[in-house]
Amino acid sequence: MTFGASRTAFVLRRLVGLAVVVVLVSFLVFSLLYVAPGSPEQLLLGNSKTIDPETVRAVREQYHLNGPFLERYLHWAANAAHLDFGKSIRTSEPVAHGIWQRLSLTSQLAGLAFLVTLLLGIPLGVLAAVRRTKLVDRGVVFFSVVGLSAPAFASGVLLLYVFAVRLPWFPAFGQGAGFLDRLKHLVLPAAALALTATGLVVKITRAAFVTELEKDYVTFARARGIPPSRVLFRFVLRNAATPIVTAAGLILAYMLAGSVLVEVTFALPGIGALLVDSVTSQDIPMVQGLAMLIAALVVVANLVVDLVYPLIDPRIVFGKSAR
């Protein structure tokens, strides 16, 4: 068995598995049109009061609602594969276009929050593990539990109150124009979004480092007189990295959900706010497009995490679970 062949086989098997998941999810997403209250024609016409038979026939024709269920699904799926989810009922713009326009704001927000999470969470977790049972550790653990338990909208409103109402340092609402202004508008939302994720990263990093620091190789390395910083960053960090990378996958999923709350709190027109607006106004085509985007992102994040494991820890063989 060569390493390369097993790697290819593993990647292929994962891809097939993920394709199955995507198809399953797409079927559920397609059914949203039928589980929503009201008939599909009504939903697609935007619940207008007067629906004459002529229009209904046109809509049925346009959306292929006359065939059997499976045929309708295949039609929808074929279009969806070309990123064609139809037109938004609320704004009557093409769904893909509407999402694309709002994607950059959300990815800037999530990217900034992700950066803050890693830059703050990992060092704090390491610090707490090294100073375990000391005051610093207690403080960091307390911060992490509070962060972990504070929903993004609660910390968002709190940040708004402190840094926009009490101290007028940052703007309360809006997205800003230009790079610096945009950054200034995104500081508070990104902080709110990062807080929960940072709590999670601190907790996982601390636990991983505490476990590793008790191992014999650390004692032995210290006994050999290797400087503590070198032990920590050359030996322990690499061994502790696996659970942290797993968490990174979780955090991406969390950022998606959190951005919904943060965008609503700070009135930012990103895809999270779009999802809430579309859901509450029963804009099914837009919801379907967003749901497929979210599913794709989660699937890709899981795949990336799986592929990164063996790069960190060569003892992990592709296709075998970690440890």
Binding site: V21, R132, T133, S149, F153, V157, T280, I294
Partner: protein
């Protein structure tokens, strides 16, 4: 394991740090407010005073009033009920569902186990809150549909924990003895093995509880949980955004109650988990 595990909770080295004690007190307070809230609150939660409108803290209204002149302190106390009842149902429901699947998968092995594990993997990968937003938003049904959904979406963690614990138990001599003695399979699973894996599931239920407080409040915040006008922490925070300049307690009251309750549940859950598993790190 059971006796040993519970004994660790009661042991002198119980790991009862001041943080854990404070958390237990907060959880107890929240439980009292959830049960007796309407009788404890100084004002009725829905009572409006439109002439007063929004006002800051005063002798009569400890945390001031909101835009409809409703007492913020009373609404925060009464709001404990929806904040506690839903998560309690989610924690219990997902614990039972997860235990059932985990026990059967772990004990039966083979195809059943594979099916259970794949199912758990699939559901685990779903972003729970987003699924709840889409389904509750599109299908409707509000709070209790959300509770039902979260039971399903949060159960894979229990399934995994219970399954691997069951695998360990299945290899124990007492299970072999029961099998040799021709004890029916369901009796072995639920009478012999279950009590031995239950402590883990109970500890995890506290963590599920903490997650559900946050998720259900988030749904209410987005207008997808409890009905409009209800005294609910998520709802109140959503309404408070426009009142921040006039009475910040409309946000701080429910916000702090929400964070304190969820954080305390997390601390208690972590503490129990450490006590009930061997991997607990001595502090």
């Amino acid at each position: 394991m059971t006796a040993v595990a519970w004994a660790r909770v009661h042991a002198r080295d119980s790991g009862l740090t001041p943080l854990v004690v404070a958390s237990l007190v907060i959880v107890a307070l929240a439980a009292v407010a959830a049960i007796f809230g309407p009788w404890l609150a100084p004002h009725p939660a829905g009572a409006q005073d439109l002439l007063l409108g929004v006002s800051g803290p005063s002798h009569d209204h400890w945390l001031g009033t909101d835009d409809l002149g409703r007492d913020v302190f009373s609404r925060t106390v009464v709001g404990a009920r929806t904040a506690i009842v839903g998560p309690l149902l989610v924690a219990l429901g997902s614990m039972l569902l997860g235990n059932l699947l985990g026990l059967i998968g772990g004990y039966r092995g083979g195809f059943t186990d594979t099916a259970v594990s794949r199912y758990a993997d699939l559901v685990y990968a779903l972003p729970a809150l987003l699924v709840a937003i889409v389904v509750v938003g599109v299908v409707g049904g509000g709070y209790y549909v959300a509770v039902g959904l979260l039971i399903v979406l949060y159960s894979p963690v229990d399934t995994r924990i219970v399954r691997s614990a069951t695998l360990v138990q299945r290899a124990q001599p007492y299970v072999e003895a029961a099998r040799t003695g021709d004890v029916p399979q369901h009796r072995i699973i639920f009478w012999h093995i279950w009590p031995n894996v239950l402590p883990l599931a109970v500890a995890n239920a506290f963590l599920t509880f903490a997650f559900s407080i946050v998720s259900l409040a988030s749904l209410s915040f987005l207008g997808l949980g409890v009905g409009p006008g209800a005294a609910d922490w998520g709802r109140m925070l959503s309404d408070s955004r426009t009142l921040l300049f006039d009475n910040e307690w409309t946000a701080l009251g429910p916000g702090l109650a929400l964070v304190a309750t969820a954080a305390s549940m997390n601390v208690v859950g972590d503490w129990l988990f450490e006590r009930l598993t061997e991997r607990g790190v001595r502090r």
